[in-house]
C-alpha cells in the first residue's frame, strides 16, 4: 500500500492543475479543493493506523531504492503531523470559502492553496534531505503568493520582508545541502544517519548547527524570528491561520527530524535548551508589548515554538514525546485562535484592541470560541494545552533541568497575561478610540456559518485532545521512542530492496 505515502503529495498537485484549468468556475475550484483535501485526510487516517501498527512505512519514488532514489517514509511522528495538517487544511479551506473576500476575489487562491498542501505533506513524508528542500520550497512559494493575496500596499511591503528572508533561508538550506552531499555523498536521510556518524565531530556539529539555523528561520527560533510577527498579521485571516498552524511547525518538524535522525547528539544540549528558553521568553514578551489581536497571537507562536524545541533539547523520550504532543496540540489550538481572530475582525471591523470592545455582550459565542483555545494555550486543564505543557515540564523536572522548568513555568504565566490582554481589549473593555463603532448586540451569529463551523470544530479539538490525552500521549511516547532510537527507521528505509 505504498500509494498511501505518495497520494498526499501528488493528489493536491493534480488538483492544483485542474484548479488552474477550471479557473473560471469558482464552484468547480472549490469542489476540487474540498475533494482533494478530504481524500488526503482519509489517506492520513489510513496511514496513521498502518504506521502505528507496523512502525515505519516506506516507499520509493519511481521504484528506485534508497539511497539512490527518493524515499517517502512515514513513522509515527510524520503520520500524526500529516493527519493534523490535513484536518487543518480542510478546516481553514472551508473558513476561507465562507469568508467574504478572502478567496472570492482571487483566481489563484484555490490552486496555490493546494500547492501549499502538497508542500507541507511532502515535507512531512519525505525521507530525502533534498526532497525536503523541494517540499519546503513548494510550501514557501505558495505562501509567498498567499501572503500577498489582495495586493494591498502594506501587505506587499511586509510580504517583501517575508519573501526576502525566506529566500535567504532557502539559499542557506541549499548551501547546507551542498556541504552535506560533499561530506557524505548522499542525501537520503536514513543513509546520512550512518555516514554522518563517521564524520569528524567538528564537521558534524557544524552541519547540525547550520541545519538548526536554516530550519530555525522557518520555525521562528530566537534570534531568527523577526520576520514572522511583521508579516503574518497582514495576510487575510484564513491565510494567517494556516501559516500560524502549519508553516512554523514544518520548520519544527524538520529540526526534530534532522537533529534526531541525522545529527543525534551532535549539538551541545545547552545550546538547544538556551535557544529554546530565549525563544519562549522573547516571544511572549513581544506578545505582551502588542496591541493588535493578530500581532499578539503571532508573537505567541514564537514563544510556543520554544516549548517544542525544549522537548528536543531535553533529548529524552519523555522530552521528545512532550514535543510531539505539544506540536500537535499547538497546531490545532493556534489555527483555531487565528480563525477566532478572523471572526473578531469580521465582527468588529478591526483587529486592534483599541478599536474593539464589549464583545462578550455583542458576540458571546466569540468569547467562548476565544476563551477555550486561549485557556488551552495557557495550559488550563482539562484542555489540550494542560497535558501538553505538563508533559514537557514533567520531562524537564525528570531531567533536572531547573532553568528550563523555571522559564517554561514563567512563560506559561506570561502567556496567560498576554492572552488576557486580548480578553480585556476585545471582550471586556469598551473601545478606547472615540470613533470606533461598536457592533450592535444581536442574537444573530457573529459571522457566516461556514466561518463559524470550522472555528467551533477546532475549539472542540482543544477540548478533545485534552480529554483524550491518555491515548494521544501514549502515541506520542511511541513516536518519541522511534525518534530517540532511529535504527528501525534506518533499517526500514535501507533494508527494502527494489
Amino acid at each position: 500500500m505504498n500509494a498511501l505515502l505518495a497520494l498526499p503529495v501528488v493528489l493536491p498537485l493534480l488538483g492544483a492543475g485542474v484548479s488552474v484549468l477550471v479557473g473560471r468556475s469558482r464552484r468547480a475550484q472549490r469542489a476540487v479543493s474540498i475533494t482533494v483535501l478530504t481524500a488526503i485526510a482519509a489517506v492520513a487516517v489510513a496511514l496513521l493506523i498502518q504506521v502505528d501498527d507496523r512502525g515505519v512505512v516506506v516507499t520509493s519514488a519511481g521504484g528506485w531504492p534508497a539511497p539512490m532514489g527518493i524515499t517517502l517514509v512515514a513513522d509515527r511522528f510524520s503520520a500524526v503531523m500529516l493527519l493534523t495538517a490535513a484536518v487543518m487544511l480542510l478546516a481553514v479551506l472551508l473558513y476561507a470559502i465562507g469568508q467574504p473576500g478572502a478567496e472570492r476575489n482571487h483566481v489563484g487562491f484555490q490552486s496555490v492553496y493546494l500547492v501549499l498542501a502538497a508542500g507541507v505533506n511532502a515535507a512531512f513524508l519525505t525521507g530525502d534531505l533534498f526532497n525536503l528542500f523541494v517540499g519546503i520550497e513548494m510550501m514557501l512559494t505558495a505562501s509567498y503568493v498567499l501572503i500577498t493575496l489582495g495586493g494591498r500596499l502594506d501587505q506587499v511591503r511586509s510580504g517583501m520582508t517575508y519573501v526576502v528572508i525566506s529566500l535567504m533561508a532557502s539559499a542557506l538550506f541549499l548551501a547546507a545541502l551542498a556541504f552535506t552531499y560533499a561530506a557524505a555523498g548522499t542525501v537520503n536521510m536514513a543513509d546520512l544517519a550512518g555516514v554522518v556518524a563517521g564524520l569528524p565531530d567538528g564537521t558534524r556539529a557544524a552541519l547540525a548547527g547550520l541545519f538548526l539555523v536554516v530550519f530555525g528561520i522557518k520555525a521562528g527560533l530566537f534570534p531568527l524570528f523577526f520576520w514572522l510577527p511583521d508579516s503574518y498579521p497582514t495576510a487575510p485571516s484564513p491565510v494567517t491561520a494556516i501559516f500560524a498552524g502549519l508553516l512554523t511547525k514544518v520548520g519544527v518538524y524538520a529540526i526534530i527530524r534532522t537533529q534526531t535522525l541525522i545529527f543525534p547528539g551532535a549539538l551541545p544540549r545547552w545550546l538547544v535548551l538556551t535557544v529554546a528558553a530565549l525563544t519562549m521568553v522573547t516571544g511572549v514578551l513581544g506578545a505582551i508589548a502588542q496591541d493588535d489581536v493578530k500581532r499578539i497571537l503571532s508573537f505567541h507562536i514564537i514563544s510556543h515554538i520554544g516549548y517544542m524545541i525544549m522537548g528536543l533539547g531535553l533529548a529524552t523520550v519523555a522530552g521528545l514525546a512532550g514535543a510531539v504532543f505539544y506540536t500537535v496540540h499547538h497546531i490545532v489550538v493556534k489555527t483555531g485562535l487565528f480563525l477566532t481572530g478572523g471572526l473578531i475582525e469580521h465582527h468588529g471591523g478591526s483587529s486592534r484592541l483599541s478599536r474593539l470592545g464589549n464583545m462578550v455582550r455583542t458576540a458571546p459565542l466569540l468569547a467562548v470560541l476565544f476563551l477555550v483555545p486561549a485557556l488551552s494555550l495557557a495550559g488550563i486543564p482539562p484542555l489540550s494545552g494542560f497535558v501538553a505543557k505538563l508533559s514537557l515540564i514533567d520531562a524537564a523536572v525528570a531531567d533536572r533541568q531547573w532553568p528550563m522548568v523555571a522559564s517554561s513555568v514563567a512563560v506559561s504565566f506570561l502567556t496567560l497575561f498576554a492572552l488576557m490582554k486580548i480578553w480585556f481589549g476585545v471582550f471586556w473593555n469598551g473601545p478606547d478610540e472615540p470613533d470606533a463603532i461598536e457592533p450592535p448586540a444581536t442574537a444573530a451569529a457573529p459571522g457566516p456559518a461556514l466561518m463559524l463551523a470550522p472555528t467551533i470544530v477546532l475549539a472542540l479539538g482543544a477540548v478533545l485532545i485534552g480529554l483524550g490525552g491518555g491515548p494521544l500521549y501514549d502515541y506520542s511516547v511511541r513516536a518519541a521512542e522511534q525518534l530517540h532510537d532511529p535504527t528501525a527507521y534506518v533499517a526500514a528505509v535501507l533494508g527494502e530492496g527494489p
Binding site: 505515502l5 497520494l7 501528488v10 493534480l14 492544483a16 492543475g17 484548479s19 488552474v20 520509493s60 519514488a61 519511481g62 528506485w64 539512490m68 532514489g69 483566481v107 489563484g108 500547492v115 502538497a118 526532497n131 523541494v134 512559494t141 509567498y144 503568493v145 500577498t148 495586493g151 494591498r152 517583501m160 542557506l172 548551501a175 556541504f179 560533499a182 561530506a183 548522499t186 567538528g202 564537521t203 557544524a206 548547527g209 547550520l210 539555523v213 536554516v214 528561520i217 534570534p223 531568527l224 523577526f226 520576520w227 511583521d230 514578551l285 505582551i288 508589548a289 488550563i380 486543564p381 482539562p382 515540564i393 523536572v397 522548568v405 496567560l416 497575561f417 488576557m420 491518555g470 501514549d474
Partner: protein, 928 residues
Amino acid sequence: MTALLTLHAVTGAIAILFGRRLGRRAVYVAGLGPLVTFAWLIAEFGTILDREPITESVRWVPRLGLDFDLRADGFGALMLLLVAGIGVLVFVYSNAYFPPNKEGLGRLIGLVGLFAGSMVGLVLADNLLILYGFWELTTITSFLLIGNDHTDARARAAALQALLVTGAGGLAMLAGLLIVGHEAETFSLSGLIADPPAPSTALTVGLALVLVGAFSKSAQWPFHGWLPGAMVAPTPVSAYLHSATMVKAGVYLIARLAPAFAGPVGWWRPAVVTIGLTTMVVGGLRALRQTDLKLLLAFGTVSQLGMMVAVFGLGTADAVAAGSVLLLGHAAFKAAAFMVVGALDHAHGTRDLRRLPRPERGQRPVALIGAIAAASMAGVPFALGFVAKEYDLEALQHSPWAPGLVTAAAVVGSALTAAYSLRFFWGSIGRMATESPDPAVAARRSPPGLVVPGLVLTAATFVAGVVPDVLDRLVSASAASLRPTVGSVHLDVFHGFNLTLVLSLVALGGGALIFALRRPLEPVLALGGELPVTAATGYAAALRALNRTADRVTGVVQNGSLPIYLGVIVLTAAIVPGTLLLSGAWNDGDGAIVDSWSQAAIAALILGAAAAATALHRRFTAALFLGVVGYAMAGLFVVRGAPDLAVTQVGIETLTTVLFVLVLRRLPDRFEQRTAAPMRVLRIGVAVVVGLTVFGLALATGAEDPATTVSDTFIERAYPDGHGRNVVNVILVDFRGFDTLGEITVLAAAAIGAVALARAGRRPGGVRDSAAPPPVPLDRITVLEVSTKVVFIALSTAAIYLLLAGHNQPGGGFAGGIVAGAAVALRYISGGIESVRRLSRSKPWTPLGVGLITAAGAAIVPLLFGGSVLESGVHTLDVPVLGEVKLTSALAFDTGVFLVVIGLAMMVFESFGDDPPARSRDTAGGTR
C-alpha cells in the same frame, strides 16, 4: 464522585449557554450540582466518618501519572460539607438577591455552578496534578466572576489582579508539585503523605513553590492584595468564593501537607507559621480601618486565613483538630456575615457603615444574624468561633517552634479580630453612622430568601457553640485523616480555668478596648496600611516593570529593519556553525582548492563581477554584473563537464536578465540610499565572517571525500536501468523525478502569484498607486520584428527537439521549456504583449494547468497499476528521422515539465509586460 463533577459541569454549562432562555430558572439548574452533592455527602457521611475513605479512579493520562484519582476521607468530607452546604445556601440566597430580569444572570450563576464543581474536585482530588487542575479552574471561574460587571473598570482591574496573583502562584505550585512528586516518585496525595520523601534541596524548592501557590490562593501576606479587590464581585459570589470556600484551598493544601513535612523539613514551621500570623495581624489592622462593610469582612477573611495557615502549618495532632474546627466555624460565621451585608445593601442601597441607618422592625432578623456572626467571629463564648479559638490557642501553645512568640502573636491577632467584629456589628446596626440616611431612599424589606440562609448558618453556629459535641465525629474523622495517629477528639465549651481561657478573655477584652479607643489609637492602627511595600504597590510595580521590559525587549529585537534582520540571520548562520566547526575536530583535505587554471580564472571572474555588483550604484549595471556571475557559473559547469547544466543555466540567466530589464523599467535608475561609512564597515565585516565560514565549511566537507556517492550510482545505472544516455535528464525525470515534480509546482505557484500581484496592482489602492515612476517604454524596431518571427520558429523547433531528444542527448523538458520561454521573450521584445497573446488562442494558464496535470498524472498512473509513484515504463519505437527511440513514460512527465515552463514564461510576460506600448509611450513621454 465523577458523576457529581460531571453534573456540575453540565448544569453549569447549560445555565451559561441557555441563560437568556432560562431566565431565573438558570439558578435552579446550576444549583442542582451543590444540592445533589450535599445529598450524596449526607448519604455517605456515615461511611466516610467511620474512617473508610471512598475512592474512585478514572484513567486519563496514566503515563504522566495524571489520573482522576478521587478520595473522600474525613477532611475531604469536612471541606465538601462547606462547599456543598454553603453552596446550596448561596444559591437560595442568590435567587432572592438578583433581580429576576438581570442581564447575564445565566452566565453568572452558571459560572458559580462551575466553580462549585471545581471546588468539589479540588477537595476530592487524590492526585497532585488533578488537584492542580481543579485549582486552576477555580482561579479562572473566580476571575470571570470578579469581572462579571465588565463595564466597571475597577472590576476589570480586580479580576486581572486576582487572576495574575493566584495564577502565578498556581503555576509556581505546579512546578513545586512536579518536583515533590518526582522526589516522592508518586503523584498520589495520600501516597505522598503516607510515605514522604527524605528532605533534600529539591524537596525544599518544591515545597517552597507549593507554599507560594497556597499562600497566594489563600491571600497570605504579601500576596493578599487581590482578595479585598475581589469584593467588587456580587455579594453572593464573595460569600461563597472569597470567604467560605476558594480562599480556603491554600489552607486545605497546607493542612494536608503539614503533618508529613512540618517535622522533617526544618524550615517549614518557622516559615509557614510566621507568614500565617503576620497575615493575621496585618489583615486585622487593615480591617479596622474599613468603612465598607464588605471590605471590612474581606480583610477579616485575610486575617482569619492567616490564623488557619498558622494553626494547620504546625501539623501537630492538636493543630489538625483545632484547624478543622476553625474551618467550620469561620465558614459559618463569615458566609453569614456576608449575607448580612448583602441584605443591608439590598435594603438600603449602601454598605458603608457611615451611612447605614438603624434597623427597622422588619430588619431585626438581619441584625440578629449579624450579631451572632460577629460574636462567633470575635470568639464570644457559646458561639462556635469561641470553641475554635480555644482549641487554636491551645494548639499554638504546644507549638514545637517558639510557642511563646506564636501564642502572643495569635492573641494580638485575636484581639484585633474581636475589635473589627465589634466594628462590623456596630456598623451593621447603624451605630457608626455619620450622615443621616437619605429619606428619599425607602428601605426595602429583605425577602425571606436573603434571611433564611443566614439564619441556618447562625443557628448552626449557635448550636455547635453550645454543644460542640455534635461535631465530635466529623472533627475526629477529619483530624485522623490528616494525621492518622490522632485519636478521637472530644470538643468541649469549657476546659477549666487555664491559661487558654485567660488568653481568650484577654483577646476579647483587648478587642473591646481597641474598639473603644479607636480614635486615640488611630496612628497605631494605620501601621497596617503603611508598610514599606504593601501588596497593592508591589503588584502595580511588578505589572509596570513587566510591561516596560516587554516593550524594551521587543523594541530591540523587533526593530522593523530588513537589512538588520538579514544581517542577524547571516551572522547567526555563520557564527553558530563556524564556532561549532572550530571547537571540534575536522579535516582540511590536501589543500588543493582548484582543479585547473580555467577554473581559477572563472572563479576570479565570478568574484570580480560579484564585488562590482555590490559596489555599483546603478541598478541596471549591477543587474548586468549579476548576469555575468550567472554566465560564469555556466562556464564552471562546462569546465566540469556538465553541458546540460550549462545550457539550463544560460537559459535561466537570459530569462532573468530580460525580467530584470522589465522590472527595472519601473524603478529609479540608481539605488536610493548610500549607507554611512560605519554601516558599510559593519556590512563588510558581516560579509567577511560569512565568507570565512562558508569557506571553512566547504573545506571541511570537501575533505571528507566519501567512498561511494549517489552520483556514481546514477552514472552506472542511467542507461541500463533508466533507459537514457543523458544522465542529467534521467536524474531529473526518473531517478529524482519526484523532486522535479515539486520544482515545477514551485514555478507554477510563482507564476500564479506574479499574475495575481500584477492584477492587484491594477486595482485602485493597489501596489501601483505607490510612488513608483512610470514605466519606460521599449522602442520597436521593424526589422527586428520580422526577423524574430523566423528566429521564433527556429527556437520553437529547437525547444521541441530538446524535449524529445533530451533523454539521450543534452536537453530535456526543462531546458526545452526554457528555450521556448526565450522564444516567447523574443516575441515580447519585438511585438509587445499582444504578440505574445497571439501565439495561442488559449489563456496563458492553460499550458500551466495541462502541464501540472500531465506531470502529476505521470506520477499517479503507475500507482493505479500497483507500481511506485512516478515509476516509469519503457516502449521502443522506430521513428523515421530520429531512428530507434526508446519511448519511456518519463517522456510524458518531461512534457509536463516542458508545458509548465512555457506557461510560466507566458504568464510572467502577461503580468509584467502588459502595458500597451502605445499608451505607455504617451503617458511616459519625456521621463527618460
